[in-house]
Symmetry: C2
Subunit: 117 residues, 2 copies
Amino acid sequence: MAEAKLKIRISLGMQTAMGPGKADLLEAIQRCGSISAAAKEMKMSYRRAWELVDAMNHCFAQPLVHSVPGGGHGSGAHVTETGLQVLKSYRDLESRVQSACEKELQGITDHLAKDRD
Amino acid sequence: MAEAKLKIRISLGMQTAMGPGKADLLEAIQRCGSISAAAKEMKMSYRRAWELVDAMNHCFAQPLVHSVPGGGHGSGAHVTETGLQVLKSYRDLESRVQSACEKELQGITDHLAKDRD
């Protein structure tokens, strides 16, 4: 049976500034210390991960990810202070919606098909 | 300057059961009385509108849209009782998130680029 999931995105014009995939990627970069290792962990191409990072960095006033390319000493990537703040607010938002909007969410999920796979 | 928007989706497996586009389409069908007129109003192909309706109807235990094809007397489409309930819960959810999660939303939007177009 398929699971119902709540997905929250903050869009800016045509772009998604923050959403489930970008938040997961930020966490993977923080854990892995590089965009390529994060991409590998998320079973995503390096190009795709780089595009998501680039999109995030352009949507915010300060970059969310700082990367030093090259593969040599000091190379890699980390989530900036702004990135950590935005990520925390996004995860807090997800939790808060689940707790504060239970009635409204149930008004939708109660009607979902029970036998979908 | 691009406007920041909150977008909420309820997904079921790989499908989006309810989201901004589907909610707008339900309202357009209710207003227009047919999928084709709703598609035209939303500047969307009939095929695309039909696919969105079909996806919604399959995600929920009861169809959200009832349509009588043919173009003749009695043909057209309307949002079912279940559809109206789900739509109301979704719009209530959007409002509730804005009011109940102001702090978390600001923790993201305060960092967005101000000069994006």
